[in-house]
Symmetry: D3
Subunit: 162 residues, 6 copies
């Protein structure tokens, strides 16, 4: 049996019925990182303190993207988000910037997709602003860390998750 | 000197002037992959042939997302794309699906961001459709492969890029 | 008296107040069809089974369009849809493809417009994908079949409806 | 051979390459009508002259929708429209309102989809504004009338088109 | 202490958590005006009665813009509006058109931003339609008049507000 | 004669034909300001240097809004902007923040609306981020400063403009 719930018995895509799911407080946390040349990271960090606030703009882009998730992901339900928070942390040793997005709602379905979208577009915005000096940057490890709320058991990433 | 071109001399973000750049044929190719449990990949492949076409829907989502790039990335110029092509290839040994997006335009600025956005949203749509059975999937190696066109030298990913 | 509720006493358009309407389970079903040359229908059906999945893409387009209804129809209220389902059925004798959309919400106003938008954009997407071989296709019989939920009596299409 | 150009040799959807098509003046004209109860048409016409301008709002909705076409139709190219005109004509004997949309561009691909989208959303907006008094209205005969410009022969609807 | 609530303790922007705020009936009223040459106002008023309904189109644009507020204002929460009403009043002595927008919701956060967005885009649409004859028009006095609902005290504009 | 060009001879709105206008370099500059309590301005300026970058976020919001102009203003033509620059300047004596937006394109119609939209949404974003401490802020003097390019004479604001 195919348990991919976005398809009906005939294998046709549909937006699944969440009308009977309870309206609860739901939280999802996702992460990812963008790896770059050491020089690029130095430029971002310099700008962050003095001028050219790459991380501030990436944060805004990620928050705005979370609100567009249902417009981007075909079978995603529209949701009224109650909170979006994005933390961008330079990883000096790894020559990378880490992104962690937390999204919350009080609704009938989870916000994993919104958290992942926020991570992706935050990282992509960093790419956009640094690509003049470093086209080789790559985005890695974009995944869900945890979700709570809803009828299904809460989920938390473990060493076995991937 | 800070060479991040999205900031002016005062460190303030702006959409950079591309009005003097020539209108040329520009191509960008980007890639990335989503890693999953072997069972999840099996379900996707089964659906691909028989029912529940995960990859077909992910392809459409990626194409549509490429058209929304300037709406998602704050300082990105709007562009009239002339071609978008997305190839999704199962990687049986790696338990992953690989995505490669090619975007073209005849315009005044490149389409790297459009190609990367297409890859990200294609992969994220696969995540959405498979998350009921595998929340631990992760997206990896999202990066630019090459770009051609425009005044700057063409660029191609090499072993030294990252 | 003019009973078109989208206008106030001065005849000025407004988004009517639904704040006092009860939040109930609401369902709307709409339909329509696109008529084409026999050869065109054959091409679509061939693709549906083997390659070039016209109907799969039209289904996705319709689902995504349902989510954009309040953005398209000026006086329509934004709504959090809880289900969208689109059935596309070839009508061999009529040389047509029939579309039936079912949309549900738990909200303060009905989802007739969302169901009709889904039908229209599904059919229009079929047109787009087949227009290289048949520009003469026409879309016919786009209408509401039934609606339930809300304070007003349920409504069902009858022979007298049109 | 399958000549549906929106699919590649593997049957996978793509946004076709229009980069080599010439930039020419392109025009498309589409039409359609919404049929209603005689009383409904009377209310619309009364409003049109005195208050509650249904047709004026439908015209604006159609123009705005033409600009959103590439956002609605998955494989449609984004285009910079140079003109959109929508004519709404009451058909007293047929108890209907007829819509005719003319769209123009100077671009690399035609504007049939934009003209058809404008017709559909204009008619649907009329439905929205009249549905409080007549849920049985239906939209009929939505089709392309003619297109000019581009390399392919000009096309004009004839008695044999459908 | 910095009490700008859109920033966390580190000064980083976030979409503030409204998940614990109660769902109540919330209303916001905003206003503004566009000043123009006497001749321009005469043209608008002539059109309003006979043809070329500038105010009718501006009203529709304002209502549609209210629905897009969360898409325009980065840290604004998406909200399901239950009512939008826009009143446009010519001010003959001041050679201006006054706009007053009333927006309502039953939600967890207020609708001040939606009311202000509706005023801005209504006025801007008047500018667009009259700019062929008067580029010097200016928009003035765009501000909140009152808000009710929610836990915080109701607020009403007074002579001391500005 | 009514010279409001957005209406045809019957007084019906249309998106005017710009297909015969020449593709030239076009620039528009617009301005406006938001007036606030002295304490509010102090908080914004404090944040600008140390934390809570209100002006940085308002700048991004204005740039993104310029790209959405054709989606907001019903009869506005879509345009590929080649540059957007927004300068936000505190006016200490006036207890205000001044916004000046410069927008450029190489296209067939001007970018006045894009520049004005950028000013409005930048100011409105400042309002959003400061409204927790000052609901009485008002937006004033939003107007076009100059436009160049195109067939019509260049225009520059003078003392007689308003």
């Amino acid at each position: 049996m195919n348990e991919l719930t976005h398809f009906n018995a005939q294998g046709q895509a549909h937006m699944v019925d969440v009308g009977n799911k309870s309206t609860t407080h739901r939280v999802a946390v996702a992460e990812g990182r963008i790896e770059m040349q050491p020089d690029t990271l130095a430029k971002v960090l310099q700008g962050n303190h003095k001028k050219g606030d790459v991380l501030g703009i990436a944060r805004i882009a990620g928050i705005m993207a979370a609100k567009k998730t249902a417009d981007l992901i075909p079978l995603c339900h529209p949701l009224a988000l109650t909170r979006v928070d994005i933390a961008l942390t330079p990883l000096a040793e790894a020559n990378a910037i880490h992104c962690r997005a937390t999204v919350e709602t009080h609704g009938q379905t989870g916000v994993e997709m919104e958290a992942l979208t926020a991570v992706q577009i935050s990282l992509l915005t960093i790419y956009d602003m640094c690509k003049a000096v470093d086209k080789g940057m790559s985005m890695e490890g974009i995944c869900l860390l945890q979700k709570t709320g809803g009828k299904s058991d809460n989920w938390k990433r473990t060493a076995d998750s991937n």
